[in-house]
């Protein structure tokens, strides 16, 4: 059998009581430092920039500036950002970024290319039967860094409708998309199932790992030092993998109620996932979650009279039709309300040390596009939390000055192309990676060349987040 020495630290969790949050507190009482957690949220079709942006009077478009959100009244918030008003002290709204490298890459559909660049910071690989990235996504980089040997490194979830489902935002280091679980019940079974209802498959898989590890132990005395050292490094990891399977199966954690088999409402599915995320965090089952928000039924945000499809019925016409622009504003606001509820859920759960779960969580909320027209120019991500790393409660603006040409509709700019882009979003990925403890200088690409041949450095963090 695989030795169980690494399982000792599970003792705190196996002694949990019956209720949250008290049981959670007891579990973490044995953990001196709360873990840092990351949630990546990606909704579709970008933002209606003119409605999203905030422009108090006297602010220049040509210089960087920061706005203190904490002192603003509710009605000073733009409509899409208004749902985050209650959490404004945790918010960093970022105005002045672009998915510039996605514009410079070739291949594929602009959505597919956008997902890869937005979340891996790297070029896409379309020379296969499905879209691949050329490096791991942000969540997977962080998961590899924060993973515990006996728990899930990450959890991939998606909320979507039957059509146009499963937006890919998580990619493993081989560039393969990680499938996301779109059913709360299945996600619940993955997270809490092994401990709740037995894990027959996990037991079988563990047996094969035990056999392999034991073969190594029997072989080891026959090997020279160099051979033994090489095999020890490999089979030490095999042993850890066995611990993970065992750890999840023996975990005692008060799971949330088993969710319904299906949900009629997109909104309710989001909330069901929120409960799973919050409890998975409180039990420290995982520290990284990616949540892909797919096509939302138009009736849920009051746009059914315009079209029954966000993508082809509304998003594409965001610059052509004022009614559809307003509908996309409602759409982003609706997603904002969902995100705000997730933040509230995490704020309501105490964490070790007396704070809330949200005090040790960082949410990065982005998209695969700048806007529904398939533009990459105006990319408007929001950070929520990450208080240990960022000076939150601000709206930050940077003028577009990067020498990359970005496509925009001709009704926005004659000629259909800008001369410059916003700051490449890779800087944001670096900031988040560093906040989560990775010592990296770049995520994905480190530099590119603009259409006019200029060298564009996309390494290093975004300026001003910690100021």
């Amino acid at each position: 059998m695989i030795s169980r020495r690494h399982l000792l630290h599970l003792g705190g969790l196996t002694a949990l009581g019956a209720t949250l949050p008290g049981s959670t507190l007891r579990a973490f009482a044995q953990r001196p430092t709360p873990p840092r957690r990351l949630i990546v949220i990606s909704h579709c079709h970008g933002w209606p920039y003119s409605a999203w942006k905030m422009r108090p009077t006297g602010r220049s478009e040509d210089e960087s500036w920061a706005l203190d959100l904490k002192s603003l009244p509710r009605d000073a918030f733009s409509q899409p950002l208004a749902p985050l008003y209650e959490h404004r002290h945790r918010v960093l709204a970022l105005d002045g970024l672009s998915l510039a490298t996605a514009e410079l890459d070739i291949g594929g559909n602009r959505h597919d290319r956008g997902w890869i660049h937005a979340w891996t910071g790297n070029n896409a690989d379309f020379a296969a039967r499905d879209t691949r990235s050329t490096s791991a996504s942000l969540d997977q980089l962080v998961a590899a860094h924060t993973a515990q040997p006996d728990r899930l490194p990450s959890l991939e979830l998606s909320v979507d409708a039957a059509l146009e489902a499963g937006r890919p935002i998580a990619y493993n280091p081989s560039g393969v998309r990680l499938p996301a679980e779109s059913t709360p019940l299945k996600a619940w079974e993955r997270v809490f199932g092994p401990a709740s209802s037995g894990d027959v498959v996990g037991q079988r898989r563990r047996r094969t790992l035990d056999f392999a590890y034991n073969e190594y132990r029997q072989l080891a005395p026959r090997l020279g030092p160099a051979e033994r050292a090489r095999l020890e490094s490999h089979f030490g990891l095999v042993e850890r993998l066995g611990h993970r399977l065992e750890g999840l199966a023996t975990l005692a954690c008060h799971a949330p109620p088993r969710p319904a088999a299906s949900f009629e409402q997109y909104d309710k599915r989001f909330d069901a996932f929120s409960d799973i995320i919050a409890t998975a965090f409180s039990c420290d089952i995982t520290r990284v979650v990616s949540l892909s928000l797919g096509e939302m039924p138009t009736a849920e945000f009051g746009a059914a009279a315009i079209s029954d499809k966000v993508h082809k019925g509304i998003a594409h016409y965001i610059h052509d039709d004022a009614e559809k622009h307003a509908a996309m504003t409602d759409y982003v606001q609706y997603h904002g309300e969902q995100v705000a509820r997730l933040v509230s859920t995490l704020e309501a759960m105490p964490d070790v040390g007396g704070g809330s779960m949200m005090d040790n969580t960082l949410i990065i909320w982005g998209s695969e596009l700048g806007d529904g027209w398939h533009g990459y120019s105006r990319y408007c991500p929001v950070l929520i939390g990450g208080s240990w790393a960022f000076n939150a409660g601000r709206y930050l603006y940077w003028p577009h000055q990067t020498p990359a040409e970005m496509r925009v509709p001709s009704q926005i700019l004659t000629g259909g192309s800008t001369r410059v882009s916003g700051l490449p979003h890779q800087h944001l990925l670096v900031s988040v990676a560093r906040a989560m403890g990775l010592e990296v200088d770049h995520v994905g690409l480190s530099h590119v060349r603009g259409q006019r041949g200029d060298f564009i450095d996309v390494s290093g963090p975004l300026p001003g987040l910690t100021a």
Binding site: D105, I106, G107, G108, N109, R110, H111, D112, N123, F126, A127, A128, R129, D130, T131, A144, E164, G166, R167, P168, N172, P173, S174, V176, P179, A180, R204, R205, R207, T208, L209, F211, A212, E215, Y216, Q218, L219, R222, L223, G224, P225, A226, R228, A229, R230, L231, H234, L237, V238, R240, L241, H311, H374, R407, H447, R449, Q451, R452, G453, F455
Partner: protein, 619 residues
């Protein structure tokens, strides 16, 4: 009957053991399975199977083709054992299901540009998890394998006979997976594992789980040789060494037979096997794989030339008219182009080595090759399809408009002007990889020549070097050579660039997608220069074709090619002065045949014993 089927297991062990004794290894203790030697040989780090080797070995072990499309579908048993890898959906339609073979592992960090070098292999949690999932996935296919069971109609046998056949089949499977006979203690533990799995039932699950254990055990994933003596590897290890060198896969029955009957004890025996193996189609794939790594051309499907520069050559406007539909046209054009570049490289290498002159000279200078309709605009009007020449159809996969597509690409033999093409360095794949989106990259191209062909180490560029390069733009007022020379003229740059630039400028007749050009920005191309290689060897050339011809006869370049191959064969980052290497390099000077070189490496003391077994080598 093959070695794996003809004798009872214990007798097989004793027989093999007798052969091993001939090399002076002490008898194992039957109870512990350990040799009486108090101190194990120090050895070197064992090689793990590379991703390519793993997948090839799995296919050969299961007797299934090296083509996932021809594998049986994943069974319910596979779903029960490991999560199905369903690819996420794109925007519109789900892509076709991922192939059941090969498994997509993380790439090795590599060493000297090659995988399968001990110094470039290090485990990661992710890799170990993938190996586990792959083992669970492939283990379910033993039940679908045409070669796994020793009995027929296993599924309909009575339970006790099923159990007996299952065990005997697994025992043979383990011997082939471990690429050597099982030691008695290994056999005992395997039997115990099998018994445990049967008790947990059902029996088909027990077969698969036992196979999954075998596929994760050290002797499968690692090339460990516990039976090596102080001075020589075992015959079994030599068989594996040969097969992974020339086939990227496990030995076949004939090679196992040769190991069992001690035919690999000397140069003659090793060379005999190597010659036989080079006639097998598996050698073609493996040798092409080596050259992809040598040249870096397996990454050519990622090159991204700009539409604004090359769109008109393929019938498109330079600028995209709208972001939704017109934006998809360039990727649709470039997909087949990139695949064609890759396949043209493979076909050129394979045909030159196996069906053509077979020489290094031809590899570096032959003006014939392959092209397709996709790459015809690159080769231009001077390319001539060879009448009656071979036509090859290869599959390509593309994602266009978020939809995965599979189609065929037809390539045909062609002859190119001798003044334009000469060997691997003028293949569009090599040239496009040595370029930016718009302009050729003489620094990238020069670096490749120095590092990959001349085995010269250039070190790391100074900070900011990349940013100091001239803008990669169409709107220029001078030639690419002039701009590059100006950008690298400062003394801090020129220390290295006086050496890097000339071999790059040699290929200025080729644009960023590898098309030949007489002029650059309205000026006649100047591709002349002089390169001083290490050892003081000087090459003065007029253009890329002339340069390639001279590189083909350069002693340093030829020695470097032998060094790469020998490192690859041994899986060891050998020093250039490793004893035993010079003899191989001298032989290659006298006989230009690449196949002869590979046979010589296989027969060399360096290959058979490693550096420590060669006089003057590392103890």
């Amino acid at each position: 009957m093959s070695w794996v089927t003809c004798l009872p297991t214990l007798g097989r062990w004793v027989f093999a053991f007798a052969a091993v004794l001939a090399f002076g290894v002490g008898a194992p203790n039957v109870a512990t399975g350990q040799t009486p030697s108090a101190t194990p040989p120090s050895g070197s780090a064992p090689l793990a199977l590379t991703p390519a080797e793993y997948n090839n070995t799995i296919a050969d072990l299961l007797g299934l083709p090296r083509d996932g499309a021809r594998w049986p579908a994943r069974s319910a048993l596979a779903d029960a054992l490991s999560p199905r890898r369903t690819a996420s959906k794109g925007v519109f339609l789900p892509p076709p299901p991922p192939p059941v073979w090969p498994w997509r592992f993380p790439a090795e960090p590599g060493s000297e540009g090659f995988e399968g070098i001990a110094q470039g292999q290090s485990p990661s949690s992710y890799q170990v998890e993938e190996l586990h999932l792959a083992a669970m996935h492939f283990a379910s296919f033993v039940l679908e394998s045409p070669t796994f069971f020793i009995c027929t109609d296993w599924a309909t046998l009575p339970a006790r006979q099923q159990e007996s056949c299952g065990w005997t089949s697994l025992e043979r499977f383990a011997r082939r997976a471990y690429r050597r006979p099982l030691r008695p203690d290994e056999q005992e533990r395997l039997a115990a594992f099998w018994t445990t799995n049967i008790a947990a039932g059902p029996i088909d699950m027990a077969v698969a789980l036992t196979a999954a254990g075998i596929l994760q055990a050290p002797p499968f994933h690692f090339r460990v040789d516990p039976d090596a003596s102080a001075s020589a590897p075992s015959q079994w290890e030599l068989a594996s060494r040969l097969s992974y060198f020339l086939w990227d896969s496990m030995p076949d029955d004939a090679l196992f037979e040769a190991a069992e009957t001690s035919q690999l004890v000397d140069r003659a025996g090793m060379e005999r096997q190597a010659r036989r193996m080079l006639e097998d189609p598996k050698a073609r794939t493996a040798i092409v794989h080596f050259h992809h790594q040598w040249l870096g051309t397996d990454k050519v499907t990622l090159v991204a030339p700009a539409r604004r520069a090359f769109g008109p050559r393929f019938g498109l406007t330079p600028r995209v008219k709208d972001a939704s539909n017109d934006d998809l046209k360039w990727p649709a054009v470039m997909g087949p182009v990139r695949y064609s570049m890759k396949y043209e490289t493979e076909l050129f290498v394979e045909q030159t080595i196996f069906d053509g002159a077979g020489t290094f000279q031809a590899l570096m200078t032959d003006h014939r090759g392959y092209m397709s309709d996709a790459t015809a605009p690159i080769y231009g009007a001077n390319a001539r399809r060879i009448p009656g020449g071979t036509t090859v159809t290869r599959p390509i996969e593309l994602v266009v408009a978020s939809i995965g597509r599979q189609q065929d690409l037809t390539l045909y033999q062609a002859e190119f002007p001798r003044s334009e093409r000469a060997g691997v360095l003028t293949l569009p794949s090599v040239l496009a990889l040595g370029a930016y989106a718009v302009q050729p990259g003489p620094i990238l191209r020069g670096k490749r020549v120095l590092e990959r062909l001349a085995c010269m180490h250039l070190g790391t560029p100074i900070q900011g070097a990349e940013a100091a390069l001239p803008p990669d733009t169409l709107t220029v007022t001078s030639t690419n050579r002039e701009r590059t020379a100006a950008a690298t003229r400062p003394a801090t740059c020129n220390t290295c660039h006086r050496q890097i630039n000339p071999p790059g400028f040699a290929f200025e007749h080729y644009d960023a997608i590898g098309a030949w050009r007489a002029q650059d920005n309205g000026q006649p191309v100047d591709a002349s220069g002089t390169l001083v290689l290490g050892d003081g060897e000087e090459i003065t050339f007029t253009d890329g074709v002339d340069f390639a011809h001279q590189l083909a006869t350069s002693e340093r370049v030829r020695n470097c090619y032998v060094l790469h191959w020998t490192r690859y064969a041994l899986g060891d980052r050998l020093a250039a002065a490793t004893p035993g290497l010079e003899a191989l390099q001298a032989g290659f000077r006298n006989d230009d045949s690449i196949k002869t070189l590979l046979v010589s490496i296989a027969g060399s003391a360096l290959f058979r014993t490693g550096p420590s077994g060669v006089p003057g080598g590392t103890p």
